[in-house]
Subunit: 427 residues, 2 copies
């Protein structure tokens, strides 16, 4: 096998015939495989089953709080401490509330729009349109959230070291309707890259140079501790850098235990300056009396002092799956030189770029074999990948055997779509 | 002792002197008592501690769902069935989400305002102002919620059988900016009354006769099963009546287990027509991936088939406290005829009316002794009781001994404030 671009027409025709035969064979296998969801596998979930017994009838927090009763809107001190550990920020800057960082992002966005985050006159909805910077490819739920509020998204390209900061700085500096930027700084969804120190530094300074005086960095550190190797890969300390840059009131950080303990049965965390927390707490008091502190105590006791051990157990289950993905892609595609993919050292996703114009057709071919791929375009606002070339792979949930089959089928579909494209419509 | 209104000046002066002496004595006791919060007592919370073991390592719902993983935004079928039991509605009309019915009320209000509940063009914020009917005295958190959205509140008097429906019907029929009504139909907060069958019937028909075509009945059935005696006191079946009246799309019902299992560590329920649920689910999908299904399974397994038994255990703890309140008020105030109070057969509150103009001063006198009463005016929008006469008593949380002392002090303060008022400012 050689680089597909160098293949002669005859070779391509033969290859297309072979691949089509393999593809028809696969269709007859009637697979039912799914690479769409960044879900933990059952074996990962089982790592936290010890949480069920950890309270042992003692429902009282270290400060004497009866976790079974009302009170404590910001969350239990020991649960907030867990968030502080994840987000590398002082515990007094953390709110632990609900089971979802996405919900907290929604609350912050709604508050920024309608009430302002600072208890002064600034709020986004004083002018229209409201825009935010969206590094792409990125996390589809950030985009859906913006869309639901009518917030316009201005794409910024992702690089191997984070968002293209030249572009981000330029856009933010010249357009005061740009009010924020969405970031997944570690093992970014979907590319899996870690923002470089320089990038984090520039993001910490961005609110100071943005034209809008109510610019907010949404720092969704969903995979803060989801490394495959330990000690953990470092991420520049955003909280410290923001304080140094005088922008601490304009950085809001998020994390959760959805992929540490249970997905949906975990804890959501938010970290911000105390000024912002005061405003958010006042807003949250309207619709919430308190979070589920029993679950907070369970988490705090279960993970205290052993977070890294626990994540190492996850890594032992997840890393081989990523290695399998990498191996299958390399074996099937490297020599042909028809795709580029990321090789993350943590997180939940691999991002793969095909030749332009192929992602949707590959998704469709895969679907015909019974393999569900994440809809092409998902990591882009409104689901529109301008080059139609990006595919997101979520390897964690599948059994290894299924993953192996799924990746082989995916490689087959990529090759088939590419060779057909190269042969042209007449073939 | 006789009716205070009939007392001679001399008798009043002597009474004021005695009461003042008792009051000063009480101040020196430096109490630290709190009758403000409708919180379950620790003994009530302990009734649910068996929940911790009920899963016994089996995290799979009856339909095979792994509750530890993502999925199922409307909630686990068996948890929704619990909500259906509380709200007397078919399970397919129930969403079980989050730990708080208040949060669900907020979501419904926000959706009614900004997106509409029906997937058509109707939404409240198309016109301004937006108003709702608020039966008073009522639940302060309903009022705070409205206030946060800028919704104007139009008070309707509460009677012993529910909101004054003549007034509610009249207002809703003549003003199309009135978009809804807040109801706590059983053991209403704070009066403890149960809406009569006729009242529920009229409320079920209200959306059909209201001038607004997007009128919504908020049916907060927070105390649906919180009776002191069993079999439960019946409440007319709102779901059925609404279906019969053709108004099912305009009734949204709420409940939670906050005062069944753990306060904050429980489940929130919402019930509505499937049309409304579809719209709400679409909206909720923006900010939530799924609720905490592990806690849902815990609740469903723990309460299945034994909800009434469980509530009877609560009643055994709560009823004596309400009896103590009733006894102390009757012994201290009945002959003097200076206050009226409710004698609920369930729920969490007793509502007491003093002579007009005294509630705030009684709260203040109590505060001087170290007894915290719920701020006078709390059960009214913006905390303004037009007659300054209503006090809400929350007997559940205190120990019986403390409650006994607290009620004696409250009676003393009521008597002292009343005698001073009757003597006039010159005394």
């Amino acid at each position: 096998m050689t680089n597909m671009a160098d293949m002669s027409k005859d070779v391509l025709v033969a290859l297309e015939r072979d691949l089509t035969r393999d593809f028809e064979l696969q269709k007859s296998n009637r697979l039912a495989l799914d690479l769409t969801r960044g879900k933990p596998a059952p074996e990962q979930l089982a790592l936290s089953d010890g949480m069920a017994d950890v309270l042992a009838g003692d429902f009282f927090a270290a400060d004497g709080t009866d976790t079974r009763n009302y009170g404590g809107l910001r969350g239990l001190p020991e649960a907030r401490a867990l968030g502080a550990e994840l987000l590398e920020t002082p515990v007094e800057n953390v709110i632990c509330h609900g089971n979802s960082s996405l919900t907290l992002m929604y609350i912050v966005t709604a508050t920024a729009l309608n009430k302002g985050l600072w208890g002064d006159k600034r709020r986004w909805n004083l002018t229209s349109p409201v825009k935010v910077l969206t590094p792409v490819p990125g996390f589809d739920r950030h985009f859906t959230l913006c869309q639901s509020f009518g917030i316009e998204m201005v794409n910024v390209p992702m690089t191997d070291s984070g968002p293209d900061m030249r572009e981000a700085n330029r856009l933010a500096a010249e357009d005061d309707s740009i009010k924020g930027i969405w970031c997944v700084p570690k093992y970014a969804n979907p590319t899996g890259i870690i923002y470089s120190d320089e990038c984090v530094n520039e993001l910490a300074r961005l609110p100071a140079t943005a034209a809008a005086d109510d610019f907010v960095v949404f720092w969704d550190n969903a995979y803060a501790v989801h490394d495959f190797q330990f000690p953990r890969a470092p991420l520049a300390p955003m909280a410290t850098l923001a304080t140094d840059a005088g922008t601490a009131d304009q950085i809001v950080m998020f994390a959760s235990t959805s992929k540490i303990t249970y997905a949906g049965g975990g804890l959501g965390f938010l970290a911000a300056s105390t000024k912002v927390l005061d405003v958010l707490e006042k807003q949250m008091r309207v619709f919430s009396i308190c979070p589920d502190k029993v679950n907070q105590l369970r988490h705090a006791r279960f993970l205290k002092g052993r977070l890294e051990d626990h994540m190492a157990q996850h890594a032992a289950l997840v890393k081989p799956k990523f290695e399998l993905v990498e191996q299958t892609l390399r074996d099937g595609l490297e020599e042909l030189d028809i795709a580029r993919w990321t090789s993350p050292a943590g997180g939940y996703f691999v991002s793969l770029d095909t030749r332009p114009g192929l992602a949707k057709s590959i998704e469709q071919l895969a679907g015909e074999t019974g393999l569900a791929l994440t809809p092409a375009g998902t990591p882009f606002p409104s689901g529109r990948d301008p080059e139609d070339r990006n595919l997101r792979i979520a390897p964690t949930f599948a059994h290894t055997e299924d993953l192996s089959v799924a990746m082989s089928v995916m490689v087959l579909c990529i090759k088939l779509a590419t060779v057909r494209q190269q042969l042209g419509p007449s073939s």
